[in-house]
Amino acid sequence: MTAPAIRCRGLVKRYPPDVLAVDGLDLEVARGECFGLLGPNGAGKTTTVEVLEGLLDPTAGDVEVLGRRWGTDAAALRARIGLTLQETHLPDRLTVREVVRMFRSLYPAGRHEDEVIRLVALEEKRDAWTERLSGGQRQRLAVATALVGDPELLFLDEPTTGLDPQSRRQLWDVVTGLKRQGRTVVLTTHYMDEAERLCDRVAIVDHGRVIALGTPAALVAAHVGEEVVEFTPGPGPGLDDAALAALPGVRGVRRAGEGFALVTEQLHLAVPALLAALDARGVTLAALSTHRATLEDVFMALTGRRLRD
């Protein structure tokens, strides 16, 4: 049996003097899996992947990548992984092809520059200086530099942050293509829709710890329920959580700002019951909406905060 792509136990990273960026983190990523680290800004995602990438030394903990360790096998490992950093400024006045060719030359074996450029759909920009590329094109070029070494394991740190919706979708297509080829991908994001769409499994990270782990569907089912009903009462008498929780079909109640969020598996029971209860108490509605539960709701349920503020 081959070793998992990543195995990491009790990872701690402290930045002197007093920042505890990663606080005892355990992870295991299987080969061929697309694994997401989902969490708000400052959760410790970048620090975690940079330790996994062998770019930062952990304060404590044990890291094994592709069955090897950075301390002893760094040179061999570098040739087998590809990565994009959260922010890299590639040289302004090199063309797309020159950048890819330079990175290709650094690997002992890999893919041809034209093939990689086609993979990230930058053929038309092949001879353009990188300073003339849009944000999305630059990010795809960064992914191209991660692919030239034909890596077994790929790390993408916030690949779509700051991109417009169309560029994000183009990048998702690239990642979906990589998944189809059976590559192991670890990506970090603070977009729950991205994690839900791309990742086979997700670790939700907060304050340097994994607070939930599983497939997106299982996480939602376990921590939230299928549907979420959000409503904001108008001015009038208050509502107590216990009464709402007792309504038929309601599995849980959370306060969300001015209003409430009810989680339920049976929308058809919960909504009429809620309306009847509000009516009976003479409470008017300022707003009412329902949506299918998402990882955002999981994060809310676990921390009481939103992923992005």
Binding site: R78, L94, F103, Y107
Partner: protein
């Protein structure tokens, strides 16, 4: 679809460096155009002129004609006949170095703190004595020399070459490496299987290549346009310049080894270069500084480089004669490289 036999990493890194260099007009300007322009400007400003005549004013009045006639006999003097007041004003403003008041004896008015004043007085007195019938006994024969090699431009050119080697090395390595670090590209490249030595070697190779262009351009220009002599061997010149380039590449790497942003490294580079530009004899001889400072000045790499270049170019020194300078430069290069590599920060 795995493709083997990658194109050489070092070659690609060097190519990238060269492309980035010539696609950035400002770096081309500072390394090539600026030193040439400076040589032209300073060469013209300080070009050798025929010796300038000394102005002498003769105050109008009885006997003025005779005095003036005696003084115009010498081409070193430019004689003007002036009124009393005008003569005083001309002396004060420096238009004339000496005012002669005809009489018996004639009166010579000059400012003894000005060398031209004292010179004009001596020449004028000599001419007046001769005109009055003095016979010269010894009759020394003047033999003027204008030897190439002793003019200002001959002093200046090796200094500018040294300064250029210093600044292209310090900026070309120091600034560019920190800029690469600040853009997080250094970290990105360190995350590949790249041999880290190759990355640094690419900078050294590009420096050597540009030196092979800069140096002949600057020196060739000085030789052709100003007739600056090139008396020593080209090999000795190349060795001194290459060691100088290595020393300043090492110092550039050293200032870049920890700095996180380009402001910091710019400050460091200027702090290293400015004192040397003043002390190491670029524009004027470092002999002008007090004797107490001389040992420290001799220890500066730019002094060694400039002295070595001047000795080879102007005095025709052999490699053996500039061995002390070469050793100092080699030591600076080795020391700074070794230290820089120990403390270098890749992220």
């Amino acid at each position: 679809m795995t493709e083997r036999h990658p194109p050489g990493a070092l070659r690609q890194l060097v190519l990238a460096r060269i492309r980035l260099f010539y696609r950035e007009p400002s770096t081309v300007f500072w390394s090539f155009v600026f030193p040439l322009a400076l040589t032209v400007a300073l060469g013209i400003a300080f070009r050798s002129r025929p010796p300038e005549a000394l102005g002498v004013g003769v105050v109008e009045g009885p006997g003025a004609g005779g005095v003036a006639a005696a003084l115009v006999a010498d081409r070193e003097l430019r004689v003007e006949r002036l009124g009393e007041a005008a003569a005083g004003a001309a002396l004060r403003t420096g238009r004339v170095a000496l005012v002669v008041q005809p009489g018996t004896p004639p009166l010579l008015r000059f400012d003894p703190t000005r060398p031209e004043g004292r010179l004009a007085r001596a020449v004028a007195a000599d001419l007046l004595e001769r005109a009055a019938g003095r016979r010269d006994v010894v009759g020394p024969v003047p033999a003027p020399v204008t030897e190439p090699g002793s003019r200002y431009v001959d002093f200046l050119l090796p200094g500018l070459v040294g300064m250029n080697v210093m600044s292209t090395g310090m900026w070309g390595l120091g600034y560019v490496i920190v800029e690469t670090r600040q853009k997080r590209l250094l970290k990105r490249m360190a995350a590949t299987p790249m041999r880290r030595g190759h990355f640094l070697l690419s900078f050294a190779a590009v420096r050597a290549l540009f030196l092979a262009i800069e140096l002949p351009t600057l020196i060739g220009f000085g030789v052709l346009a100003f007739g600056v002599p090139l008396r020593g061997s080209l090999v000795a010149l190349a060795v001194v310049a290459a060691l100088g380039a290595a020393a300043f590449a090492g110092l550039g790497l050293l200032v870049a080894s920890r700095a996180r942003n380009t402001q910091t490294v710019s400050g460091l580079i200027n702090a290293v270069m400015m004192p040397m530009m003043l002390l190491s004899g670029v524009f004027f001889s470092s002999a002008n500084f007090p004797a107490a400072l001389q040992p420290a000045i001799r220890g500066l790499p730019l002094t060694a480089l400039n002295d070595g270049l001047r000795a080879v170019m102007i005095e025709g020194a052999t490699l053996l004669q500039v061995a002390p300078q070469c050793l100092l430069l080699a030591a600076v290069a080795a020391g700074s490289f070794a230290l820089a590599l120990r403390i270098f920060r890749w992220s």
